[in-house]
Amino acid sequence: MTPMFRKADIILIAVLIIAGFVMSFTLAAGRSDGTTVTVTRDGRLYGTYDLAKDQTVEIREDGGVNIFEIKDGTVRMIEADCHNKDCMQQGVISKTGQTIVCLPHKLVIEITGGEQEYDTIT
């Protein structure tokens, strides 16, 4: 049996960790405060909302409910009736390109606008 770690394993782990950090820094770099909240449902545009205006938006579709809150230029999912509530765990977003995703309801809330809007992956 081979040892617990071989040279190739160490290199593999190092490369993957570095790739992960480089990708996340590239995604985070050049992000400015956004201006608009864009909601996409099932790949189609659902609506756009002004990030500067405090409001609570309820999305009720096919029996699924999501409620998100725009407050002081940030967006947060405050209510969801799916079983895992992953979207509520995704926290607060405010920078261009950041997203909150609700998988069961096929919902993507994205911050758009702002100065630089490049996203290396999408």
């Binding site: 992960g20 390109g97 995703v101 993507v108």
Partner: protein, 179 residues
């Protein structure tokens, strides 16, 4: 003298029993992970304890057995716990990670830890691909860097544990001949 029906080679029964036992174990691990999610508040992050069984089977019984065990686990977990969408996610994760683990093991360059790390990372990639298809948006790939790192960490833990288990198992698997 010819061999009769009820006089099958003992190896067949042993292998069947080993597969059934390990599939049941993998299923229990899947269930435990649903009961106690180790996600640290980050959606999609998990330890992948069930992969422990798959890796041990991959090394101890061979790829065919490991594959069957993995498929039984995903199918039964889909029926019992996760539902149709959960099944799609776990199937994609399981197929991609198994294919990559098999190939990585075949190169002969990596130990069980490297194989497990690749399994963890590609499991996450498989799930994110399904998620992107289901929501018809590539935005979800913004989570990929986090899931690479979490895949490496959980893969390393599972790899080390697999290594320790494999060392303690008897040298020869029950009549499995590693097929």
């Amino acid at each position: 003298m010819t061999r009769s029906h009820n006089n099958r080679p003992a190896g067949d029964v042993n292998r069947l029993t080993a597969v059934a036992l390990m599939a049941a174990l993998a299923l229990i691990f899947s269930y435990i992970e649903i009961l106690i999610p180790f996600n640290f508040g980050i959606p999609g992050v998990k330890l992948g304890v069930a992969n422990l069984v798959v890796i041990v089977a991959l090394y101890y019984l061979g790829p065919r057995y490991a594959f069957v065990i993995n498929m039984i686990r995903v199918a039964v977990a889909g029926l019992l716990f996760t539902g149709l969408f959960g099944f799609c996610y776990s199937m994609a994760g399981a197929l991609l990670s198994f294919a990559v683990m098999y190939l990585i093991k075949k190169t002969g360059l990596f130990s069980v830890t490297g194989v497990s790390v690749c399994g963890g990372v590609f499991h996450n990639l498989g799930q994110i691909l399904v998620a992107a298809v289901l929501i018809s948006s590539l935005k979800i790939f913004a989570y990929f860097p986090v899931l690479i790192i979490s895949g490496v960490i959980s893969g390393t833990i599972i790899g080390i544990v697999s290594y320790l288990i494999l060392q303690r198992l008897p040298k020869r698997a029950p009549e499995s001949s590693g097929r």
